[in-house]
Symmetry: C2
Subunit: 500 residues, 2 copies
């Protein structure tokens, strides 16, 4: 009998062996019932000739099909399609087997923005990424070439992290007023993992968590995915301590999550007196406070007040830091500073998640810190980001005039802007996409449905010229959005048709 | 007034600023009520003289105490200990706030073994670690020095992994008979994270999982922590398909977890016919099978049969691989090969856990694979581990004689031994510790209370000479344990006193 085989040439042929290609094609024909059960296949010699391959290759192809249970060889008789090989089995019901996933209502928007950024066609002012041109990779490469690594450092290490890095981080904190030993430090795979583990060890579904509003969307998603109920404090003005106290008495929340320094997205810095008052209230109610602090090293005017963790007399603050904004995100290194009871419990959970974080990045960061290079790098970063902040502020004044209101931030990565006219962020998002500029719409930072006049602009990723052009495009998009006017084309709340 | 301050000298003084040291000591005295509320502290000039520091340092020390809310400065009057500063607040109730942790009954033993290994005093044949002397770090360093890295590769990448590495892994699998595109591959932080994510997306508490018995203890812990109920199939002899079918009908398990190639700990290789029969049964019942395969590249006689994944006509196999045993554990890189529906769900979960795995290791592994260096490294590793396996087998025959029974493995890292006399593994463990040699006791690999006559010896970490000495010590320990006889000094089941 004649069978139809078409072999690949070129690159594909080089990676997939010839006998696999032949076997795969015959398998498809058997499973598709083109070759029926009991059909005698051509002898190996004939198959070899037909495909222009060696006899060994033909033999291997049949062996492979036999392995797959699709053919049977009868000695002295030949190779036959096996019984039942072509039966159409029921498909695997994967979607029934999988545990349902929690889906954030804004994850669709975020995915679209990341995809747009990845295409690289527009000017991204959306994702909070440091500028790749500022990554200190050359210094890292130099360290890798120069310093000897002990091979044991590449094996399994403690779940809490690479010892010398934990020591160095603890010493750095002690110098900054945070009393911590290495036993108070756990290295995690980015502050994302820190939040994940904290949610895991503190939250049962239904627990209350106090958050600022707006706040970091990754934290909102994490707490919501853990089944927590969120209590919000306005982040824009002074901390509303009376409201917080009401929450503490009425709901007994498990945690408070707060970004006191260059808050994301608002840019606000909590003044010293407010920090002290917050801590006094937290101590009185024995409230555990997660202080997320990715930006305090990135100040462009004066240094911010000490972190809550440095002011905390009660030991109730869990301090979350990361190298993703100051060094680079691909390191996947963040760290948690906390009482030992919390560190131990986090490590217990992290052991399940990944045993420990990757050693290479931890080793590199330790040398980078120990050699004093991190401080030099931070000083340079502050200078460059200050220029970018100023360029953005200048461009906003020049191009957007009074169509946008905002406060220029003293540090961090973001301008938090508000549309002063009748346009909403959803209209603006569509116009901005047309102009080739992106930002994150404000509603992503609220647990509710607020934020339809607000948006976040990141000024860290582009240089001054790029930022000027980005703001120019944005201002055109604002003007166009204002002309259209609001509700009809926006996603803002309107009459809701019943879902039938 | 005179206050007592003792400043650190030397290294500690260099890392913690002088004013912090002074502030910390005063803070301790205030909180300990050595200095009562309202006490007037010495003027800055006097404090400076007393401590032998500059006046600025003394001012900064008082400022720090003010930040902490421990003192108040009255202009023109001086610095006073604040009211309420010394009050003993209730401690943070961390243990009540934390979600209870699942504790494995064997985790204590494992911790002790790891601690003993870390001390490096004895010969470790316990943890399943490759020999650090064989890590291909020089090749990695050479790659880092030679190849240019795109800075974007150090930023955020897709949660599923670094694109070129996913492509390379998929091509490698396709060449080995596993039909997979990059979309079927997710890079994870070691196979540990693969197991974690799979447990997370498949298991609800109470779900049934079929496992071999004995099997990899990390998997047992993971499934138990997820609240799964375990159904066991004996791993020592041929697969009991009738028992499996009974489980499938009676309990409808969500998953089966299996190590078909150089099983951990038994070393067994499932023959081809058994693999086919298992898959036929799995397809009929639409059972999802997790195939964990850390060792198939480490064969020392003939190559093992194809993985289940290569034989799977039904698409029900999820294939878990790692570079921890073949390259080095500190990379924290493993991968999952699965249908897209599963990969997507894993990625959704992994996004919460750590956004993505570290880029540096993924970039290095991609270059290591693309340059063909992995295959050369594997060939060398096979040669060296074969020598070690042979040395261990030889030493066991010579020193332990018929006191131990075992089957020399054809690949992987382990001898699975059974005590033929009256000693139990717990007695042996104590004797072995005295001799300075370690192994993992058998009960760690069983979900129940079996395994008190069995233990696992890892022959990968030490060289032939070390293995010979290790086995010699072990044989002495076996002889000593046999002399003592069993139950009284062991942890084997005996009369249980009531817990009152």
């Amino acid at each position: 009998m004649e069978i139809s085989i078409a072999l690949k040439a070129g690159e594909a042929a080089a990676t997939v062996p010839m006998y696999e290609q032949i076997a795969a094609q015959l398998a498809a024909q058997i499973k598709g019932q083109v070759l029926a059960a009991g059909t005698k296949l051509p002898p190996e010699r004939q198959l070899a000739e037909q495909c222009g391959v060696s006899r060994t290759t033909a033999i291997n192809a049949y062996r492979r099909l036999e392995e797959m249970g699709l053919v049977r060889t009868r000695v002295g008789s030949g190779t036959y399609v096996a019984e039942g090989a072509g039966e159409a089995a029921l498909p695997m019901p994967w979607h029934q087997l999988l545990v349902p996933a929690w889906q954030s209502p804004v994850s669709g928007i975020i995915r679209d923005l990341v995809a747009m950024d990845a295409q690289g066609t527009g000017i991204s002012m959306a994702t909070g990424m440091p500028d790749p041109r500022m990554y200190p990779w050359d210094a890292f490469r130099e360290l890798l070439g120069r310093e000897e690594m002990a091979m044991a450092d590449l094996g399994h290490i403690a779940t809490e992290g690479y010892g010398p890095l934990r020591e160095a981080l603890a010493a750095r904190h002690a110098a900054g007023g945070v009393a911590a030993g290495a036993e108070n430090v756990a290295v995690v795979a980015g502050s994302q993992q820190g939040l994940y583990l904290l949610a895991k060890v503190f939250l049962n579904p239904g627990d209350y968590v106090v958050v600022e509003s707006p706040t970091y969307l990754g934290a909102l998603q994490m707490f919501q995915a853990a089944g927590a109920r969120l209590l919000t404090l306005p982040a824009a003005g002074p901390l509303q301590l009376d409201l917080l106290e009401d929450y503490l008495i009425r709901y007994r929340p498990k945690l408070m999550y707060v970004l006191p320094t260059f808050q994301n997205p608002s840019g606000r810095v909590m003044p010293l007196a407010e920090r002290q008052a917050l801590l006094a209230l937290a101590a009185r109610h024995r409230l555990a406070v997660i202080e997320d602090d990715p930006y305090s090293d990135l100040y462009y005017d004066q240094a911010p007040p000490p972190p809550l963790k440095a002011l905390d007399q009660h030991g109730g603050v869990i301090y979350l830091r990361t190298f993703s904004k100051t060094v680079f995100p691909g390191l996947r290194v963040g760290w948690v500073v906390a009482p030992e009871a919390v560190i131990n419990r986090l490590a217990q959970e992290k052991q399940y998640v990944d045993l420990h974080s990757n050693n290479l990045a931890q080793w590199l960061l330790h040398r980078f810190l120990a050699g004093g290079q991190l401080d030099g790098h931070l000083a340079a970063a502050r200078g460059e980001y200050r220029r970018r902040r100023d360029a953005t502020a200048h461009a906003l004044r020049r191009y957007a005039g009074d169509r946008l209101s905002y406060v220029a931030p003293g540090g961090g990565f973001y301008f938090w802007c508000r549309l002063t006219g009748r346009a909403t962020t959803r209209t603006l998002l569509a116009e901005a996409a047309r102009e080739g500029v992106s930002f994150v719409p404000g509603d992503a930072f609220y647990p509710g449905t607020e934020g339809d006049k607000e948006f976040r602009l990141c000024y860290a990723t582009n240089d001054a010229a790029g930022l000027q052009e980005g703001v120019r495009r944005l201002a055109r998009a604002v003007a166009a959005a204002e002309k259209q006017g609001g509700a009809a084309r926006t996603g803002a709340p309107g009459p809701r048709p019943p879902i039938i």
